[in-house]
Symmetry: C2
Subunit: 162 residues, 2 copies
DNA sequence: CTTGATATGTTACATCATAACGATTATCAA
DNA sequence: TTGATAATCGTTATGATGTAACATATCAAG
């Protein structure tokens, strides 16, 4: 598996696919994919980057879909809980999942210059971390893996992506 | 290397050693280990857990060492920059480094029940994450690795550590 | 229709963090 | 010594992120 997010690709298609996948998953699991929740996912997919809850809320407010913080946070909780979006702890921001169809342990590559984020896959629970956890008697349920550095564009000295 | 933090050990000794190490490192690198910075490290070492900046600030205030947030955040910046403490992104909190003498890529085991944190070591830049970064042309400078789960005490159904 | 579960709307507040600016202190070359 | 410079500290004010609590609305099951 390789990282998505830095290279160009068909945004329109990836948005459609993510929404279709989310719809199907909700239907199968009897989850309520409400207009608000759907819209927040669409906003994240359209932004195609890590977005703060208040930034998302601004859009919802403009569209008459809710004006107070809990509106955004509740929709984001739903999306994160069900794997359609992830929280980037390092940025206190949220991003649409780029491969929501797989059971996955997401890991992120975060550019410290332009804040671009690419999602990739890691299994930190294997290897050193897993061994350390086992030795300590710690049961890993979830892992936050966020690499900070420079994305290809910013390494090249090009203008930052955004 | 194994995780420190869940098992009992000689707190008095580990505090002394961490302070001695920090002092020596600052002396060697001409860093200004001021009373405020030293005191914040002592507070973190005494707490022996992840502490919020405002919690640390409360102690500083009681001791007449500063009453406003920037006082705590500046000292914490210094400690984090120089590797004497780490920020736990998941908790928005700070913890003293438990092995400040080594050049290390810290990783943390965070109990979701009692918030206990153990520091261990991982090299996520090797393995899958490193391969993904290389494939994407991303240069990893630093990594946040935070495993969330249950610590030994909370798994045993015992009363939470604190 | 009622009940219970889920989702939404809103107020108010809690928590985490930093910009900006002036005062103080340390350093060091002239 | 003196003056320039950088680092540190003290404070005000504000920004940014996140949640508790409660009222209202919706809807499916009994």
């Amino acid at each position: 598996m390789h990282a998505l997010g830095f290279e160009h690709h068909d945004h329109h298609r990836c948005k459609r696919e993510a929404l279709t996948t989310a719809e199907a998953h909700c239907a199968r699991h009897r989850l309520n994919f409400t207009p608000q929740r759907r819209r927040v996912l669409e906003i994240l997919l359209a932004g195609h980057r890590a977005m703060g809850a208040y930034e998302i809320l601004d859009t919802l407010r403009d569209e008459g879909l809710g004006a107070q913080p809990p509106v955004a946070y509740r929709a984001l909780d739903f999306l994160v809980t069900n794997g359609f979006a992830h929280k980037i702890e390092r940025l206190n921001a949220f991003i649409a999942c780029t491969h929501p169809d797989a059971t996955h342990t997401p890991a992120f590559l975060i550019c410290r210059i332009c804040d671009a984020v690419a999602e990739t896959h890691a299994e930190p629970a294997r290897g050193m971390l897993g061994a350390a956890a086992e030795a300590a008697g710690f049961e890993i349920e979830q892992a936050v893996v966020e690499a900070v550095g420079r994305c290809p564009r910013c390494r090249d000295g090009a203008a930052p992506c955004r």
